[in-house]
């Protein structure tokens, strides 16, 4: 045990490990906040869809030789998120189909562009690391960490300020609209926040595993808690704890960061599920 701590403290001498931990905790916190809303709105897969959009945007940025990918990816992903979430119930292509369409489309275009124009010799390696986020969180520099921190602080503040409105719009959009709440404005806000979170999360777990970061905390805490507030707080705590554990394990044993965090999330979900069954029986 003490050998483990020694090893950990040795690793924490390196700034990049500390950055990874900071960024990881912030992203985990942000992504868990809106998870409940997304799962309930039947948009569980929007994380996956938007992350593919971000992947496509990243490929375009790479082809055009932009120095800062994040500044290019963010507006494109935000645009697609708004497109997906704003249509409401009256549009022609409905929720899951539109998510699938945008997701598959941008994945294909991203890969195509990378294939046609890439200068790198290790193409499949590049694609793999963008999709699975293998080590990119360990290569963050100071400016990226600050950028990430500022965005996540904004997300948390906006979420807290609009918490009641987000609840009302998610629970019953028609009632909110009928009683004079500007539901479409809040849907717009939710879409923007989600897009920002996803671009942030791409650095940590990569495109494919973002859905896990959004869904697992929400689903786990919905097993145990009965009020929206309790579920939200619990999923934030759950997500942060899993992220910290996942990063520590991956540092100690050299496993890929993203998949390790998701693995911890899965274990957490199973524990909560079992606790939920027993909790239900007691009553």
């Amino acid at each position: 045990m003490s050998a483990m701590f020694e090893k950990l403290s040795m690793y924490f001498e390196f700034p990049f490990v500390r950055y990874a931990l900071i960024a990881g905790v912030l992203i985990a916190l942000c992504s868990s906040l809106l998870g409940v809303t997304l799962v309930l709105k039947r948009f569980s897969f929007i994380g996956d869809g938007l992350s593919h959009v971000a992947f496509g945007a990243m490929a375009i940025a790479a082809v055009l030789n932009f120095t800062n990918n994040m500044l290019f990816m963010l507006p494109i992903t935000v645009g697609c998120a708004i497109l997906l979430l704003m249509g409401g119930q009256n549009r022609k292509i409905k929720g899951d189909a539109s998510v699938a369409m945008i997701s598959v489309g941008s994945l294909a275009i991203g890969y195509l562009l990378m294939n046609l124009f890439s200068t790198s010799s290790n193409l499949s390696g590049d694609v793999c690391s963008t999709l699975f986020g293998s080590t990119s969180i360990l290569t963050l520099d100071v400016t990226e960490v600050i950028f990430c921190a500022v965005l996540s602080i904004i997300v948390v503040i906006v979420f807290v300020l609009f918490y009641n409105k987000i609840f009302a719009v998610t629970f019953d959009e028609n009632f909110a609209r009928a009683t004079g709440i500007k539901a479409s404005a809040y849907n717009f806000l939710i879409a923007v926040i989600i897009a920002v979170i996803i671009v942030l999360a791409m650095n940590l777990v990569g495109s494919l595993l973002i859905s896990a970061l959004i869904i697992f905390p929400a689903l786990s805490s919905m097993r145990l808690f009965k009020s929206f507030k309790a579920v939200t707080i619990c999923s934030a705590v759950f997500s942060v704890v899993c992220a910290v554990l996942g990063i520590l394990i991956s540092v100690l044993y050299g496993t890929p960061v993203g998949s390790t965090i998701v693995a911890v999330d899965i274990i957490g979900f199973v524990i909560f599920y079992i606790l939920g069954i027993f909790g239900g029986k007691r009553r």
Binding site: A168, N174, A178, G180, K226, F228
Partner: protein
């Protein structure tokens, strides 16, 4: 001036007209029941009154100082709500949202209002319970308390008793009737013609030819007699 006035309104989706040339009014304190076949446009009419949809032509106007956001609404249950993790307290309180303006949190008055309405609906003891674990009747009372937080003037109810057992149904009706006696105007979509004739003061029957008038006029009209008799025959 009526609380709600519909003049020559046509309703529909895109350019397909579901309902045309509809005129009726609702005065303060009325109990209006809207009856009609499935697909006759009852729910569309309700959405239009709520301002969720625009009428294709004609005009819906509000009088007596009623504002668009002062219409309480009891919708039919949605899929989202069936597994939504929310406590009764949170849901009732969310009805006060249109009163809190730009403030991010609920004020003391909002909370007091929510508490009063929960007492009124006799659900104070359920406060901490999870919405999805309640019975159908209890859920409807929670949503009714939420509507009362949003308004004290007029309530629109979209088939409030669908899916309820007979006991809960009669409880729901008497609850709504009590609210009406307290001065709240009620507009209700209903399939239950017996209850309609029992409680309503006015009836709007949507069909190929539209009937609007008081309950007494309806019972004595050819259309009303026909509809009442066929319903009796079915049961």
């Amino acid at each position: 001036m009526s609380l709600l006035l519909c003049e020559n309104v046509s309703l529909g989706y895109d350019s397909k007209v579901v309902l045309s040339d509809l005129s009726f009014f609702v005065n303060s304190g009325d109990y209006l029941c809207i009856v009609g076949e499935n697909g006759s446009g009852k729910s569309t009419l309700m959405k239009t009154i709520l301002g969720l949809k625009m009428p294709l032509s004609g005009k819906i106007s509000m009088g007596d100082g009623l504002k668009q956001n002062e219409i309480g609404y009891l919708p039919q249950q949605t899929v989202v709500q069936r597994d939504f993790p929310a406590s009764v307290w949170e849901i009732v309180l969310s009805g006060c949202l249109n009163k809190s303006g730009f403030s991010p949190f609920y004020s003391k008055e909002n909370k007091k209002r929510a508490k009063e309405n929960m007492e009124r609906m006799n659900i104070t003891s359920l406060s901490k319970q999870c919405y999805r674990e309640l019975s159908g009747g209890q859920q409807q009372r929670v949503l009714l308390a939420r509507s009362l937080c949003a308004t004290e003037k007029i309530l629109l109810l979209d088939e409030p008793v669908s899916g309820l057992d007979p006991k809960a149904t009669s409880e729901m009706y008497s609850l709504i009737y009590d609210l009406n006696k307290q001065g709240i105007t009620i507009v209700m979509i209903s399939h239950d013609i017996q209850a309609t004739v029992k409680y309503a003061s006015h009836i709007l029957h949507i069909d190929d030819d539209i009937f609007f008038g008081t309950k007494e006029e309806y019972i004595n009209s050819v259309k009303g007699r026909l509809f009442l008799n066929t319903k009796d025959g079915e049961e």
